[in-house]
């Protein structure tokens, strides 16, 4: 089999996204923070307006790096009641495509289904797609922007996005 440059790059991106999924499913949130650029943003747009801008639209989550760190701090506390005990999650990531690639960064989209389980039954399946903007660094990639677009018309029975989706 002949490997193209594009295949190499996609393998590297796939490995990175699978690694991110694994540490989130393991609740290794400090390791997840280590994947972030110093000015990273984490966005979950509203179901009704997935392509909008958090500056003029009410999002579900629109964290700059400071709030990402605060979110992790909160989630590590037993007083984050919605996530105590922490949900069990399992992420399946497929259909990975590199949309843009430059010397400095890449834009990557992937489809996800995130299965959430809680004692007593209240879980759910979050379906949608990720759009990652990744910066190239010596060790591989760092996340500059992580946009999580839900397919559902409304959050509805899922209730909340209380863990890192």
């Amino acid at each position: 089999m002949i490997m193209q440059k594009g295949d190499d790059e996609r393998s590297a991106v796939e490995d990175f996204l699978y690694h991110e999924a694994a540490i989130l499913d393991d609740w290794d949130l400090d390791a997840w923070l280590d994947l972030m650029c110093d000015d990273a943003i984490y966005l979950v747009p509203p179901n009704e307006a997935p392509e909008s801008d958090p500056e003029d639209t009410l999002f579900i989550i629109a964290d700059d790096i400071h709030r990402i760190r605060s979110r992790v701090k909160r989630l590590k506390s037993p007083d984050a009641h919605a996530e105590y005990p922490p949900s069990r999650t399992r992420r399946l990531i497929t259909n990975i495509r590199i949309l843009k690639s430059s010397e400095r960064e890449l834009t990557v989209t992937s489809n996800f289904s995130v299965h959430r389980f809680r004692r007593g039954g209240k879980g759910g399946v979050y379906i949608g797609r990720y759009v990652h903007r990744l910066q190239r660094v010596a060790s591989g990639f760092r996340i500059a922007e992580r946009r999580v677009i839900l397919d559902a018309e409304e959050l509805g029975a899922l209730g909340a996005v209380s863990f890192i989706l």
Binding site: V44, F59, A62, H81, L155, G159, A160, V161
Partner: protein, 432 residues
């Protein structure tokens, strides 16, 4: 069948208890739909959501599918979203602009004044068939106060203005934030379910007693950001600043406290960033010029959670949120929440407002998910234990004469007393 009373209300004996059956019995929900939701004014939407002729939104209000629209003469209309022929919904989009509502089932169509304008093959109908009587059905009553539109399905109900009673003062305080006296709903609706009885969210939405235990991670976040969240000394004080609970008449109530958490209009905190400081200060100066020192201070530096009976909350704190909810089942409600801001707000301040909203509110906020969890835990705790544990205790502050704190439970009792009156037809003599 509920044998005990819904509530035991005996302030003379310092007793107020709530029968937990009211939160778990499906028969009570059926009765609520009739006696509460079909007799009260129910929030339907805001002026700003349909600003031009032909604009519409569809949603469920008081359980009914409705179309809220601006007709050809810019009048606000609320139609039931059902074809007069055989019943299908005539509009399926979330929002848009149209001159026609079209039923795809048999092809009947209506203009945005509601008139039936096209009936395919209408020569098969008898002479008595009268199009003018078959327009889209409007709701019996549809009135607004300062841009907030409410529907009432009881033709004989008092006007919205009368109904709102003391709640108007608190809506005024929200609207006074805008120089033009016009507020708008920001794009980005939050729609999520809570697996709990709807009345638990009434309680939770203005229950300041739970702040410390349920939201300690949020308080920690505020503290880390440099906001003073220390509890002052004083009997019964549980919150960083003093606040009171108030009965506003007709079941409406509010908690009203000195601000500590920052307000886009107009009390700066460090979380907003240095750049926003001058903008928040300018907003404060504008308030002072327009409203005078005292009123400006009231608008800018108090946080108010307003409950409009039976299912509307307007929380004016770190940001303004409008939240309504509907009992899909006795143990599941559907919540809809929006952010509200002054129409003339600058892009910079709008960003601050939305950012401030998300630190606390919404399904991804640092507080709301824990509320959702708490209510679900209540529902699970009580659902099958009502025989053994029939009552909840709601007596905080009941022994006091005069002012009640926001961490007391006067405002919760206010809701339950009105609910009980409507459900039983017995007006309570007990006053507090």
């Amino acid at each position: 069948m509920v044998t005990n009373p819904y509530i035991v209300d005996d302030p003379a004996q310092n007793d107020f208890r709530l029968n937990r059956e009211t939160l778990v019995d499906p028969e009570i929900l059926k009765l609520e739909k009739k006696r509460v939701f079909n007799t009260c004014w129910i929030y339907a939407g805001h002026d700003s959501e349909v600003s031009s002729p032909g604009d519409f939104v569809t949603r469920t209000v008081a359980g009914r599918p409705v179309i809220m629209t601006r007709d050809s003469k810019s009048g606000m209309r609320l139609f039931l979203n059902t074809c007069r022929h055989r019943g299908a919904q005539v509009c399926r989009e979330r929002s848009g602009n149209t001159k026609r509502f079209y039923c795809f089932y048999h092809g009947w169509s209506y203009d945005n004044d509601g008139a039936l304008v096209a009936v395919p093959g209408d020569d098969a109908y008898p002479d008595s068939f009268d199009r003018s009587e078959l327009g889209l059905m409007q709701v019996p009553r549809f009135e607004q106060y300062k841009g907030f539109w409410f529907v009432c399905f009881d033709r004989s109900a008092p006007s919205l203005d009368t109904y709102l009673s003391g709640a108007k003062e608190y809506i005024d305080l929200v609207v006074d934030q805008s120089q033009s006296q016009e507020m708008e709903i920001v794009t980005g609706v939050q729609e999520y379910d809570v697996e709990a009885n709807w009345k638990l969210l009434v309680e939770n939405s203005f229950d300041d007693y739970h702040l410390h235990s349920t939201h300690s991670t949020w308080l920690e976040y505020m503290k880390d950001a440099g906001v003073n969240v220390k509890i002052p000394k004083g009997k019964g004080l549980l919150l960083p600043k003093r606040g009171v609970g108030k009965n506003l008449g007709n079941g409406h109530a509010a908690i009203d406290s000195q601000n500590f958490r920052g307000r886009p209009v107009a009390a700066w905190i460090s979380i907003y960033g240095e750049k926003a400081k001058s903008l928040v200060e300018a907003a404060k100066r504008e308030l002072i010029e327009r409203l005078g020192e005292e009123r400006a201070e009231r608008v800018a530096n108090t946080n108010r959670n307003l409950f409009v009976f039976p299912n509307l909350m307007i929380n004016d704190g770190s940001s303004v949120t409008v939240r309504t909810f509907w009992p899909a089942e006795v143990d599941r409600m559907e919540v809809t929440a929006w952010a509200l801001g002054p129409v003339e707000e600058s892009p910079e301040m709008r960003k601050v407002r939305l950012d401030a909203f998300l630190t606390f509110y919404g399904p991804g906020g640092f507080a709301t998910p824990d509320d959702v969890e708490a209510l679900m835990q209540v529902q699970r705790g009580i659902a099958e234990t009502v025989n053994e544990v029939p009552w909840s205790v709601m007596t905080r502050g009941i022994a006091k004469n005069g002012e009640q704190l926001n961490s007391d439970e006067l405002h919760l009792r206010t809701f339950w007393r009105r609910w009980n009156e409507l459900m039983t037809g017995n007006m309570l003599s007990a006053a507090e």
